[in-house]
Symmetry: C2
Subunit: 114 residues, 2 copies
DNA sequence: TTGCGTTATATTTTATTTTATACAACGAAA
DNA sequence: TTTCGTTGTATAAAATAAAATATAACGCAA
């Protein structure tokens, strides 16, 4: 390990109480649900199990003031899921925070003697 | 879930390449090693196994340019571990970054309609 | 030279998390 | 009313991670 390059990195998320309810993975999931109209397709795209995706969606719906995703079963295509207006707002707000955080990361670095 | 309070939280760490080599847990471990002079005691205090603590120390020593911890076995007390000058420097630098990050977290928040 | 407590390491066991599998419920459309 | 693919849910299997256990190496001090 000669001449290592040290990089600052990190993650941010939203909590209520001490429970994490939104991070960048969940945001990506929401975006893929919106794009595909399907929890299953979003899960496949992100290579996670349907159960995990469903659990995440359910958790978000339970912990935000209003549901972020509304799903229907049966009907054309077997069922579908849509991201609510509130969900879109949440996505947008998180993107703003994420961008500021990226700026923080690039603006700060470790200063270590080699 | 009526009237939820959304809080921004997060973590930062140092990487080389794509490997995490220092975060707040490792920093605490270093500090406890320095305070106790023992990897084992530090591990006990943090309720982690000796093996896990040793692996973390070993990983840090391998990935920073110079060792952060020097250990000895045998002798008075059975052996000991000390944090190097470079290790102290690393701890200090991380604290600076961490403090700035805390300021970032308190300065930013989500804006969501209830 | 024996005992001591720690470091260092390997191996086994346990616990936790994740994934896979199965299937009922559903509603539109053929 | 049958088919279809998804949602929703439970259970089993598999994969990971963590912890427990064991033991050698070590060097000082009694």
């Amino acid at each position: 390990m000669s001449n290592p390059i040290f990089k600052l990195n990190g993650r941010i998320w939203i909590e209520t109480g001490d429970e994490k309810i939104l991070g960048h993975g969940r945001v990506e999931l929401l975006e893929r649900i919106q794009a595909s109209g399907s929890i299953r397709q979003a899960a496949l795209q992100m290579k996670m199990s349907y159960k995990q995706a469903w659990d995440l969606v359910n958790h978000m719906n339970e912990h935000f003031g209003q549901p972020l995703v509304i799903s229907h079963r049966g009907g054309k295509g077997g069922g579908n899921a849509v991201v609510t207006e509130h969900g879109l707002k949440v996505i947008g707000e998180f993107h703003l925070l994420h961008q500021k955080f990226q700026e923080f990361l690039t603006a700060n670095s470790i200063n270590l003697p080699l």
